[in-house]
Amino acid sequence: MTTLPAVTPAAERSAVTTAADRPGRGRRRSGTPYAFLAPALMLFTAFLGAPVVYAGYLSVRRVKISGLGLGRSSRVEQWAGLSNYTRVLTDSEFLPSVGRIALYGLIVVPLMLGGALLMALLIDGGRSRAGGFARTAIFLPYAVPAVIASLLWGFLYLPRISPIADVLNSAGLSAPNVFSSSWVLYAVANIAIWGGMGFNMIVLYTALRTIPGELSEAARIDGASDVQIALRIKIPVILPSLIMTFVFSLIATLQVFAEPMTLRPLANTISATWTPLMMVYRDAFIRNDIHAAAATSVVIAVATFALSFGFLKLVGSRAFRQED
């Protein structure tokens, strides 16, 4: 094993957690950390780094077909500049799918996180015996993958099966067709809210449990109500957790794929380009246009980064701290 110089930049040293680990205390410096990191870095490079770079490369290439398009040499890959991007961005189906996803996010994220926060606060507040039961029940959907969740709700949405439609019909009212074009977005959003609320609730509940009971007690003695305690003490304290759940929800929203893909056989109102990611799938595997698919992927990735970093910057979050 090679011995590395014992001097490290101050920034490096500050990340070291205990004094015993510091160089200069008789600790051997060696290639060991690299050996521990090797499997992770190899997998990271192969399945994260390389695909990202490859997608970028493909997005600026195109296939040129010469002559009659017959034979091997008639298909030549060449530099395409930004033409794939202009092609994708001006695709008549791209903007509507972006708009749909934006509206979808505006519905899903606040309702899902709001519901999760409300339930977490209610359970943490301890004003009801139903807390333990509700916690388990609300968490349960997290065990159900999006495909199965879509399938279950898909059946519940079918007018011939839906218990809600049954009840409405027997009351002489006509139930709305959930799969109609004006309802289908909400129908898909509902599945995402149902599937995601429980996990976020557990995250927020865990954060709430870390708040010392004396804090709420002191506030209560000062005459604060439960709502005031929640708004003035509990929510500010768990803000970092709320920010994290927000960012993860945002990322998840941009990649809606499984739910609408599963519902397609039941709802003809869901087009093949209903969300941007479905458009990627169509271009790559139905139209065999991997260059357009790569360009769309890059656009989605850049948008995700911009939104999540922009938001983290905006709130000045230290949620991902490097220092412990």
Binding site: A55, L58, M119, I123, R135, A143, P145, F257
Partner: protein, 289 residues
């Protein structure tokens, strides 16, 4: 799943019960349980009854449905279940181990390039995994590995978030003094990791395993595009295909519904028994076990 843990703060115990809180909590629970209740009832109905009887009235055909699901193409459904266990179980186990090693190195060693690696991993957390699926497919196709178990297993083994969590667990749960003592006793680096650090990180590792297990079990796009042979499908992709068939043969719907119920049962059991490991503080990365 102890209710709100035993330390439920004596102060709050003295609080008066609030009917409004109870009502809201039960409403939330009912919303979350409705589809679960439905699938349990629907799986007891015959194909005809599924569309003709009242939604929430049970019938007696559950075992017939299981039998016909099991008969479907020589038990293909059970093969899907086994595949799912393989993808999610082995993938998550490998991922937790890889993350543990990397997180341990990042928490307990100083070495050149450390902050570069750590920042790279943080950036990886924010990369939407689903976006990688198409280039991953193309690269694996070049390596001749698409339509094999490896095509789903290998990409599932890397989890930047798992590494991030493991770094925090290792920093918090493994005191430097203990490692130093192990080294004094002549333990090598590997020995110190495997015999000393790994057991101390166990609660955190269970959480990382569960996270990755659910992520793989939930990842629809990756197996959907990687696999062409339906004998390699996980149960999610398989059922989604069955649902497609149901559009032309509605008798298939009973199998889809029964299959959906059977597929979530093991995971629900796993969840309920390991619920405490889910209490993760995302921001601090700590497990409240």
């Amino acid at each position: 799943m102890a209710v709100a843990t035993a330390v439920a703060v004596p102060v709050e115990r003295r609080n008066r019960r609030s009917p409004a809180a109870t009502a809201l909590l039960l409403l939330g629970a009912a919303y979350c349980l409705l589809p679960v209740l439905w699938v349990v009832i629907a799986s007891t109905k015959s194909a005809g009854e599924l569309f003709s009887t009242f939604t929430l009235s049970p019938s007696t055909h559950f075992f017939d449905n299981v039998a016909s699901l099991s008969d479907y193409r020589g038990g293909l459904y059970w093969r899907w279940m086994a595949n799912t266990a393989l993808y999610a179980g082995v993938g998550a186990l490998a991922s937790a181990f890889v993350s543990a090693m990397a997180g341990f190195a990042l928490a307990k060693y100083a070495f050149p390039g450390k902050s570069v690696v750590f920042n790279l991993i943080l950036a990886g957390v924010l990369v939407p995994g689903v976006i990688l699926a198409v280039p991953q497919y193309l690269l694996l196709a070049k390596a001749g590995m698409t339509n094999t178990y490896w095509a789903v297993l290998l990409p599932s083994m890397i989890s930047p978030y798992g590494i991030y969590l493991c770094r925090i667990f290792a920093a918090a749960a493994v005191p430097g003094e203990v490692l130093e003592a192990a080294r004094m006793d002549g333990a090598g680096d590997w020995h110190a990791f495997a015999r000393v650090a790994l057991p101390m990180m166990r609660p955190g590792l269970v959480t990382v395993f569960l996270f990755q297990f659910v992520a793989i079990w939930n990842n629809f796009m990756l197996p959907y595009i990687m696999l062409g042979d339906d004998r390699l499908f996980p149960v999610t992709v398989g059922l989604s295909g069955l649902l497609n068939q149901g559009a032309t043969q509605p008798a298939m719907y009973t199998s889809v519904v029964t299959g959906a119920l059977l597929s979530v049962l093991p995971l629900v059991a796993l969840f309920l028994s390991l619920q405490r490991y889910w209490q993760v503080d995302l921001a601090a990365g700590a497990v409240k076990a």
